[in-house]
Symmetry: C2
Subunit: 240 residues, 2 copies
DNA sequence: CGGAGAGTTGAGAAACCTCAAAGCAGGTGG
DNA sequence: CCACCTGCTTTGAGGTTTCTCAACTCTCCG
């Protein structure tokens, strides 16, 4: 993922990384911002396919994605694994590890990526001093919970077409918020990964995309998606 | 739900309510505990069917369930609603409201219940002073995220039998942690509500329960469940 | 005792999955 | 630079699971 063309949300981010998730701006003055920057100075890069962390590893830090694209996946006891999310620049991952001091899922780079490490001890420390930061951290965690509820709803009560429409619209909206086109984008993940995330088999994902294309909702060429009829796509999700 | 017969986890809870979720004990000394107690002194009771809060209401406080049983449900834009969780004594609800300062789901009492209100401003304030409490709050939120991932996995990759087995084992484990029998318990929710939570129709829930009974895994009489073969029930969830 | 909500059960339909085969794209090594 | 190989994607046919619609029963209250 290249740098956004023109994105006001990104401009207000702290200089070293996007600690704040987009749409959740935090109110910090210059000095406070410096402290936050100092906290988030450790950066690392990952090649496509590399693991940022694995299930079971000790928890030390949260990670803010600076550039690139990740997926997180949880493994079942019986070996089945399920993608629990796709993460874009500006988003925070690792929150699920706090409760047990160990990561409960894997995070894998879907393309060459750069992240910014946020030592959790020090984040907690700093957030005791900066109530704005404290509240912001709570909001990020709460937002993750709400997001998960949305996915539960999708998995529990939507049909394949609705799930895929919701998925594409969500991607579109997130790309758009980062200054990219909401109508045309590149999928970083395989059909299998999309299916895993949406509770569908890869063949169903492929068939449904083809069907969307036949009906003129969008055009797909392998991983290149162009949404042609945003309104009709939206009507899949909202209405029955 | 009556008071537990003999439950060590509850004994270490603060006196006025179970702020800590079970299995996540917090390390506070006497004075700190007093401060926490002062925070959580407001109690309220609810009759079966009453709403603790509704989607859209302003967010002011978290709620610890002291006695009783709740469900939380999210409403779709199109009117569909989905149960996102069932809550028992000692559990905290309302975390999803932090991110937007408004509740994003309804909380409904499934039986006469008593809760303890925790004003969030003051909880944040106190957790700035007490690092142990701060970490504990973060763990509670993180635990909610992990729980939700578990449900996503259930919804995305399990069949009806597996989902129901997982659901019953989860209830059993939670009752057990509260000092009740893990083998025999009363369901507080309807088939419809179970189905909504598990992404199934009520008829499928009913049929699957009947099938479990036929196979000698458990006995069901409407809402009274007795698990007869815990191991075989477990094998549904772990194995293929 | 009657009514309303909850639960059970059956039959047929719909959605999605499984298995299989073939086409495509991108990377690697000759 | 091309050919090949591997992994990803598409499409088809048939099977399973779950849903839908419907009728009936049960249980709990008033």
């Amino acid at each position: 993922m290249q740098s956004p063309v023109n994105n006001p949300s990104v401009r207000i981010a702290c200089s070293s990384c996007n600690l704040r998730e987009l749409c959740l701006p935090v109110d910090l003055d210059g000095h406070e911002m410096q402290q936050l920057d100092a906290l988030t100075s450790l950066k690392r890069t990952f090649r496509r396919g590399e693991y940022l962390y694995r299930s079971g590893e000790a928890f030390r830090a949260l990670y803010a994605i600076r550039t690139g694209f990740f997926k997180t996946q949880a493994l079942h006891e019986d070996g089945r694994e399920q993608v629990t999310g796709f993460q874009m620049p500006g988003e925070i991952i690792g929150l699920d590890a706090i409760c047990s001091d160990a990561h409960s899922c894997d995070a894998v780079a879907l393309e060459d990526s750069e992240i910014c490490e946020i030592p959790f001890d020090r984040l907690e420390e700093l957030s005791r001093e900066l109530p704005n930061l404290q509240r912001h951290l709570h909001k990020i965690m709460s937002r993750e919970i709400v997001r998960d509820h949305g996915i539960m709803m999708l998995l529990g009560s939507m049909r394949a077409e609705e799930r895929l429409a919701a998925f594409l619209l969500n991607l579109s909206q997130r790309f758009s918020a980062r200054g990219y086109s909401p109508n045309a984008f590149h999928l970083r993940m395989t059909r299998q990964e999309i299916g895993s995330y949406l509770g569908l088999k890869l063949e169903t994902v492929s068939r449904t995309l083809s069907s969307f294309q036949e009906h003129g909702l969008l055009s797909v060429r392998v991983r290149e998606v162009e949404i042609m009829d945003m309104l009709r796509l939206r009507s899949f999700v909202v209405g029955a």
